[in-house]
């Protein structure tokens, strides 16, 4: 996932952003007193599994998304894909568009993350019929 590139927080940032425009960043690991640190792949798959639950309800979707956005990272395309499909199962187009807005906001000053994510999600977006905020014109005031 795309971590906060230029911030190594006191609580320990894991590996920093891997994106197309390679930010060459050193790996910083979280220090646990016991147990193993979770890898990025494990994190991603955990969240993909969460949103893939067939009978995920609206509350769980909200909780999941709000928690995910609370993390210091931009979620990977596969997590978002899973979340968007969950929106489809719940017949909630508004939330799907909101999720796209949220990740764009989450990327902050890194303006190239969001277009990359949209590019990755294009097949899903056209399959499910989700319009991006840009297509709807709500990305401007």
């Amino acid at each position: 996932m795309f971590r906060a590139v230029f911030r190594l927080s006191a609580s320990g940032a894991r590996s920093l952003a891997r994106s197309r425009s390679c930010y060459s960043a050193p790996l910083a690991s979280r220090c646990y007193s016991h147990g193993r640190a979770e890898t990025e792949e494990e994190f991603d798959s955990r969240w993909v599994t969460y949103f893939s639950k067939p009978d995920l309800d609206a509350w769980e979707l909200k909780k999941g998304m709000n928690t995910l956005i609370g993390y210091d990272l931009v979620p990977e395309a596969k997590i978002l894909d899973s979340a968007l499909r969950a929106c489809r199962r719940l017949n909630d187009l508004a939330s799907a568009i909101r999720i796209l807005e949220a990740v764009k906001n989450k990327a902050g000053p890194h303006k190239d993350i969001y277009p990359y994510l949209i590019q990755e999600l294009k097949p899903t977006l056209s399959e499910l019929g989700i319009s991006t905020p840009e297509e709807l014109g709500i990305d401007k005031i």
Binding site: N66, L93, E135
Partner: protein, 177 residues
Amino acid sequence: MLRFTAGRVGSLLTRRATAALTTSSARMASHGPGTETSPVDVSQPMYIDRADIPLPDRPYKDVLTEVERSLKEKEKGPWGQLSKEEKIALYRITFCQTYPEMNQKSEEWKTVLGGIFIFLGFSGLLVWWQKVYVCPPRPRTFDEDWQAQQLQRMLDMRVGPVHGLSSHWDYEKGQWK
């Protein structure tokens, strides 16, 4: 002028109070259309526009018009069949402000700064009035010649001869060291 100031201060205070009760910094939280004046039931799930809470606890509009309800029914089908306006309408049913709208800069800082200066100015007026009407006259011990005589007396008494005042005075030459 005073009435204008009081009104501005009044509105600033009420806005500050309501802003303190909500978590939104740029805008007050919306409770849904037409409910701003009635008290909010905080024991119920609340709606809020926050960048870090993309999906609030409840949709913005609870009560839907006939058109909106039929649109919600259409939402259950393929989304490709919805027009742009319908998609925007669905968004606005569930959410009040879009992310760009909620992240808008406000002019509030001007009000805040203006309020600060008003209060500082008012305090300045109070201090001036105090100086003129409350403070007693300046004691004569502050006069230049009194201070000079006082210093001479202290030197004569050898006040602080080791490390203090008199230790810095050269008694032979009659000047400071």
